[in-house]
């Protein structure tokens, strides 16, 4: 009985040691980048260039694709018309009147 208890204790100690060793070596690489990563020489751009608008060119040319493109173009042309209408409105604004 006493032997078995001692054996369990030894095994537990050995297993604990192995676990501790593995834990240490697994966590160590994760810490390395903190100290090893070098600072970039130039900061990343804070304002990326505008994304290309390839809503039409990116799709295929099947009949279904063409129909989908037409829907996209309908929306885009409508937006252009809205912008044009806003230009119209800017010419319709009246300056402040001084009525005394």
């Amino acid at each position: 009985m006493g032997f078995i208890v001692k054996l369990v204790l030894v095994l537990a100690v050995v297993a604990g040691g192995v676990w501790a060793w593995m834990t240490f070596h697994q966590s160590a690489p994760a810490q390395q980048p903190v100290t090893q990563v070098t600072e970039p020489t130039t900061p990343p751009p804070t304002t990326p260039p505008p994304a290309p608008t390839d809503a039409v060119s990116a799709s295929g040319s099947s009949n279904a694709d063409l129909q989908s493109d037409l829907n996209t173009l309908d929306t885009q042309v409508q937006s252009a018309q809205d912008d044009s209408a806003s230009v119209d409105n800017s010419f319709n604004d009246k300056p402040v009147q001084q009525t005394e």
């Binding site: 505008p50 173009l73 806003s86 010419f91 604004d93």
Partner: protein, 272 residues
């Protein structure tokens, strides 16, 4: 693209050049306010009338300032939606618009604190004379935004035209009569080209406009340039509408030919 960047820079310069402290203008007028009243009751009536006019003037001024602030905010929203400006350019312009709004708010505070009707009248007048928000900045900004959109849409229409051209060639190779479709495609391409031409012309017209600062000749020239650019934008948008209608006509005709390509966009065609 470069032209749009140029106009954006010009617009930014305009924001910077716009006076921000032209508030101390003396007012004339209100001669009746100094009318000699022979009785104390008459003086009371005149004072009350002046106060009523001051109150009314402040209300109107506040409304006009708010209208300009709303328009500037709207312009900023449109600028942020532009696709051919960099984020940095948008950020800078947003900052300058914010400065304009801040200045208008300062003017509002000054007007609200005015107690003299002559000073109040001068401050109200400065809303239009000194800032030119509606006379120049807003129209110029919106034309720039519209031109950006037109260029973007024209680019997509052009890409679509290329697709249609390939489909038409495929149909022709399959023995279909595409004469009418080709004519429509030519019209579509012409409209796209003209849309770009008109849009560029609009941008060119307003690129170098600066506040008139009371110079009537310059004000007239600015107004003429803005109106001409406005006409160009309208023509350009109408071109886009026509080009889009042409595209619809072409697709409808292609579908009627019962020739399709695989969704994988391969060059092969299938007869349905």
């Amino acid at each position: 693209m470069n032209a749009l960047k140029t106009i954006a820079a010009a617009l930014l310069a305009l924001f910077i050049a716009t006076p921000v402290s032209a508030l101390s203008v003396t007012l004339g007028g209100s001669a009746d306010a100094s009318a000699s009243a022979s009785t104390s009751a008459g003086n009371v009536n005149i004072t009350a009338a002046i106060q009523a006019r001051i109150s009314k003037g402040k209300d109107r001024a506040d409304q006009e300032i708010q209208r300009r602030i709303d328009s500037l905010n709207d312009l900023n929203t449109r600028i942020q939606a532009m696709v051919r400006l960099t984020g940095q350019q948008k950020s800078t312009m947003a900052s300058e618009i914010g400065t304009q709004i801040s200045t208008l708010n300062d003017l509002k505070v000054k007007i609200d604190a005015d107690t003299d009707i002559d000073t109040l009248k001068a401050d109200i007048k400065s809303i239009t004379d000194a800032y030119r928000i509606f006379m120049l900045i807003i129209p110029q900004g919106r034309i720039t935004v519209a031109a950006d959109r037109i260029t973007d849409v024209a680019s997509d229409l052009n890409a679509f035209s290329t697709k249609l051209s390939a489909r038409i060639s495929a149909a022709e190779s399959a023995g279909k009569d595409v004469t009418s479709i080709k004519t429509t495609l030519n019209d579509m391409n012409a409209k796209i080209t003209d849309a770009n031409t008109q849009s560029s012309a609009a941008v060119g017209l307003i690129g170098n406009l600066t506040p008139d600062n009371g110079d009537q000749t310059k004000a007239a020239a600015n107004n003429a340039a803005l109106k001409s650019a406005h006409a160009d934008i309208k023509t350009s948008v109408q071109d886009l509408v026509t080009a889009k209608q042409d595209a619809h006509t072409i697709v409808k005709a292609l579908v009627a030919l019962k020739i399709d390509v695989q969704a994988s966009a391969s060059a092969s065609t299938t007869t349905q």
